[in-house]
Subunit: 411 residues, 2 copies
């Protein structure tokens, strides 16, 4: 396979067109394990909720018609015929000109159609309540199916479960949820100079594998399950064998390449023959991160990342995390915290290329000031000191000082 | 203890003044378990990074002075005296008028002060390289301590670890991190009508415990470790005993009250005598969520939440989650995704009270439209169908239609 066949794509093209078919299987998890998990199907309610007409105030269950025209000057007088106990069926019904004492959350007795708040009543004579404000039918209560009707969707498929969703499922008695399994993301590191983070003392020229640990973090944030497969030597057979094993084992494979020429080209060669349709692009119109490879091998996405950690992490955040989410059944991109800021200085950019610029934020006269962090793209410290990043769009040829920009914040 | 002694506070007061002293202990976690964990102290680098002057381009290590004035028309000619191998010490130094072949990431040989990109060279005669552009000292390389100096802070205390922080720690060979333990948050449910979510068939008036499961989700999101302690009967001795056990066992205690009068008042009585300084407030100027109790018992925060799930979750998000984070050593509030939107309708509000309004978002003419979701505050479906919420500030007496508002988005 010669280099001439390799194509460069824009990030937008890749996000739209590179769509490996692999989806994770489904599994069932208990509610306590379900936060941020992705329902594999809509979950519906076995019954209506709350399931009974329920008082939302402390007061008296009444027939609303019995209170029409009631005022401080001319109260309605109703006979108190009983009291509802929490968590129990009412022992009495409400008839004409009668009232039943109700706690918030109690079951509305038969015959009643409203609950008068205790604040608008007084029990001046034992056994009789004075009502000084009228209520309309439905006041002071929720209907038996007002929260959820039987069969209604409690949580949709494809949206990671939020805290309130867990509450809703619990309310409906749904204590386990069918979810997509977390995509298994195998991370291979390559590069003769790369050694494990545990290496206490480095020989000259060696660097510890920073990218794999950081990628594992991004995989977790995208709902995946990272598998660090260690460091593969810059040797074609070793990389081919490791990739073959990874593709057989994973929902998605990430190769964190060494920065040598051999490591850069090796991934492309090793991917060839691993499965159809093969390489989608070898080069993305993004800075940093151009030498990125995207391939699909028998449904499994293989992402070959640039050699330096900063570039690798920028590309994985923009292109890899969406693929992890999609593989795990997430239907829509999550919302990210974004702040509007003003650029502290002009930025040059080439048209047709997405530029990702790491920035710090500080107070500004009207909006925060975004100050770009520059330096060799090999410096991981740029990422750790950044508050967020901004994107110079593909069509822009640069941004002027004081331009308003959207900064996506690191959390 | 009579009700007259109970004080209502604003949310701002509570966030500022209610500061129970309990902090979690510290523990050490491996890098693979460290995402979102909170460093208990700044972690510094044992050595400089990358640790050696490193080429950032493929090319030739040279003395910059040897390239001054070089051009296409008048190249500099340098003798190639060797090649640097990845991950190994250079075998040769660079002397006057010589060059050494360099891979990206290779160790700069002694004597060299720059790397010329291969694109600006050609090896027209074997053993000699033509350089057609000058380089300045420092071009094409990073210094030995350019990413991190020895002893520099890799990650600060109190900021949850991000993916890039894990990479930086790995690069420095720091494979375990001293972190705050996750705050242990015991969640007690009360209410005679409340039954476990596992209850298949409800008796009349019973409701399943929705709040505890949702609270557990919010605790996890705040970095805490939720412990669901089950449902306590609406009976003073039972609640006192359960609370006493919880305070002894937890970093923070949450009581999800039943909605009956007894349950509402019971928490306050049960808290009395559990430890100094006791109750901070019994009532927050917030809607929904007014009947909230905050107490500190021997350093442990006790939060008594309103009876209905929606109110309880609104209050816990605004007041409880910050307490969980603080207990776990988080130094600053996390950034939340916020979108600027226009109100679809006017909202009434009482001055001096924070109103939290759940909204859905839809496309609008210039900005998204925020449509408030109304209904009884007992309806959990309002929370599950909301895209986010807006806050009507304490000083406002309402918001007009079309007012621009910030909507905090649920993720």
């Amino acid at each position: 396979m010669s280099r001439e066949f390799f194509t460069t794509r824009t990030v937008a093209e890749a996000l739209r067109d590179f769509a490996p078919s692999r989806r994770t299987g489904r599994e069932t998890v208990a509610l306590a394990e379900a936060l941020r998990r992705v329902p594999a199907e809509p979950v519906t309610s076995p019954s209506a909720l709350p399931g009974f007409a329920r008082a939302t105030v402390d007061g008296y269950a009444v027939r609303a018609a019995d209170t029409y025209g009631a005022s401080e000057g001319l109260p309605s007088y109703l006979d108190i015929t009983g009291a509802v106990r929490m968590g129990a069926a009412p022992a009495v019904a409400v008839g004409p000109a009668t009232a039943v004492l109700m706690p918030t959350g109690g079951v509305l007795p038969e015959g009643a159609d409203a609950v008068v708040m205790v604040e608008y009543t007084s029990e001046t004579m034992p056994g009789t309540v004075e009502v000084v404000r009228p209520v309309a039918p439905g006041d002071g209560l929720v209907r038996a199916d007002e929260d959820v009707t039987a069969g209604a969707v409690l949580v949709p498929a494809g949206r990671p479960l939020r805290a309130q969703d867990l509450g809703m499922l619990a309310a409906a008695g749904v204590t386990s949820v069918p979810v997509h399994a977390c995509p298994r993301v195998v991370i291979l590191s390559t590069g003769d100079e790369v050694v494990a983070p545990e290496t206490a003392t480095l020989s000259p020229g060696q660097v510890r594998d920073a990218t794999a640990s950081a990628l594992a973090g991004l995989v977790l944030e995208a709902g995946g399950s990272p598998v660090l497969s260690g460091i593969v030597a810059d040797e074609p057979h070793a990389l081919s064998a490791a990739l073959r094993a990874a593709v057989a084992d994973a929902d998605l494979v990430v190769v964190s390449a060494g920065s040598s020429v051999g490591a850069r080209d090796g991934t492309a060669e090793a991917v060839a023959g691993l499965g159809e349709p093969g390489i989608y692009c070898h080069g993305l119109a993004i800075k940093p991160g151009k030498p990125t490879l995207l391939a699909e091998c028998g449904g499994v996405a293989v992402i070959g990342l640039p050699g330096n950690p900063l570039s690798a992490l920028v590309v994985f955040r923009l292109v890899g995390m969406p693929l992890v989410r999609r593989g795990g059944g997430v239907a829509a991109a999550p919302v990210e915290p974004v702040v509007r800021a003003r650029l502290s200085r002009a930025l040059a950019s080439a048209a047709g290329r997405l530029d990702i610029v790491q920035v710090t934020l500080s107070d500004g006269p009207d909006k925060p000031t975004a100050t770009p962090l520059f330096g060799a793209s090999a410096l991981l410290s740029i990422l750790t000191s950044a508050d967020g990043y901004l994107v110079v769009p593909e069509e822009a040829t640069g941004l002027d000082t004081d331009t308003e920009v959207d900064v996506t914040l690191y959390r």
